[in-house]
Amino acid sequence: MNESLSREQVEMLLPYYVNGTLDAAEKQQVESVLKQHPSLWDELTFLRKLQTEVQAMPAAGNSPGELGLRRLQQQLPASSQPKQISPRWRWAAVAAAFLLVVQTSVMMLTSVPGGYQQAGEQQQTPLLIITFEPQATEAEIRQLLLQNQLTIVEGPSVLGLYKLSAATEPETLLQSLQQSDLVESVQLNR
């Protein structure tokens, strides 16, 4: 790579000069062009600051973390046998279908005040993110949800996560759900 690079080509390489991944020849060429074009130093400074800011940025929301690992580990034996669907997962699918019906029924039966609710308002209420113990039956889960006036908003996800909205303060429900034998994990979504 002995041909000299144009200013434009060097500008394209600057982010990789900043992150230190250019090979020796490219690096040398970039430095040579930088000497000829002082205006590129401003680009360089901008990119360095941008890198600092990007690295300091928190990730959007919480990653699945240890909970995700537990769910993954539960799936491993099944994933090694791609053609077979274990009875547990078949049951899980049936349970999920039932829960969907329950969710629909609860939403239809719950008295909803007339008029519209703003989507923005709904998002202000923290949701509960929950996973159930694998042995929990659909009837038990249904009872738990009804007892606590909980509605499934989303799920199940591949991880088995459900998002629930609560008619009462979700913070107060958190502790009682954590103590339930049916619940594997529960946390507040913000």
Binding site: E11, M12, L13, P15, Y16, V18, N19, G20, T21, L22, S39, L40, D42, E43, T45, F46, L47, K49, L50, Q51, E53, V54, Q55, A56, M57, A59, A60, G61, S63, P64, G65, G68, L69, R71, L72, Q73, Q75, L76, S79, S80, P82, E154, G155, S157, V158, L159, L161, K163
Partner: protein
């Protein structure tokens, strides 16, 4: 790096412990990367799970043609694009090359100040997913443009172009937020 390969060998041999170690090593970085393209955090968490399931199933197929991290982020990228294709095809529309103005170089050093961190975050969030993903891989993962090209399965020049457009878009956004003094009128 070699450590990653050793762990992958153990995973290929069926070690769940090795998979857990590998998961803890990469999970949050992978989630962050997936979130750069996938706006729904719930789906992003699902995709992280799918990626590690694929690692479990395909660890034996890793051929060391690239770094383990490059291979892993490629899986994440393909799964994310596949999911977006099914659920949000509009998010994958080919990048329209905006008529990006060249900025006054003299003003650039003023654009990012420490107190403007929030503005930077806002501007990053407004980037097109493809541009943001490349910027994340460049600055957060500190990957070379060659590795990024492997991850996102595109020519090296496309990576450089996307990064260039990401930078230009950041400048425009920051200038807008900084007020009239820096804008091109």
């Amino acid at each position: 790096m070699n450590d990653d390969i050793a762990i992958l060998h153990q995973i290929a041999a069926g070690s769940q412990q090795a998979l857990a170690e590998f998961y803890r090593r990469y999970e949050s970085r992978l989630y962050r990367f997936i979130c750069s393209k996938m706006p729904d955090q719930f789906e992003a968490a699902d995709l992280v799970n799918e990626v590690f399931l694929e690692v479990w199933q395909k660890a034996a197929e890793f051929q060391q043609r690239s770094k383990v991290s490059t291979w892993l982020f490629s899986i994440a990228y393909f799964k994310t694009v596949d999911r977006l294709r099914k659920t949000r095809p509009e998010a994958l529309s080919e990048e329209a090359l905006d008529n990006l103005e060249d900025d006054s170089p003299a003003s650039l050093t003023c654009l990012i100040q420490a107190e403007q961190a929030d503005q930077v975050r806002h501007c990053v969030s407004t980037l097109k997913p493809d541009h943001r993903a490349v910027m994340e891989l460049t600055f957060f993962e500190e990957m070379s443009y060659r590795d990024i090209a492997t991850v996102v399965n595109c020519p090296e020049n496309t990576v450089k172009t996307r990064m260039f457009h990401a930078k230009q878009a950041m400048k425009k956004c920051l200038q807008r937020l900084a007020g009239g003094g820096l804008s091109h009128e």
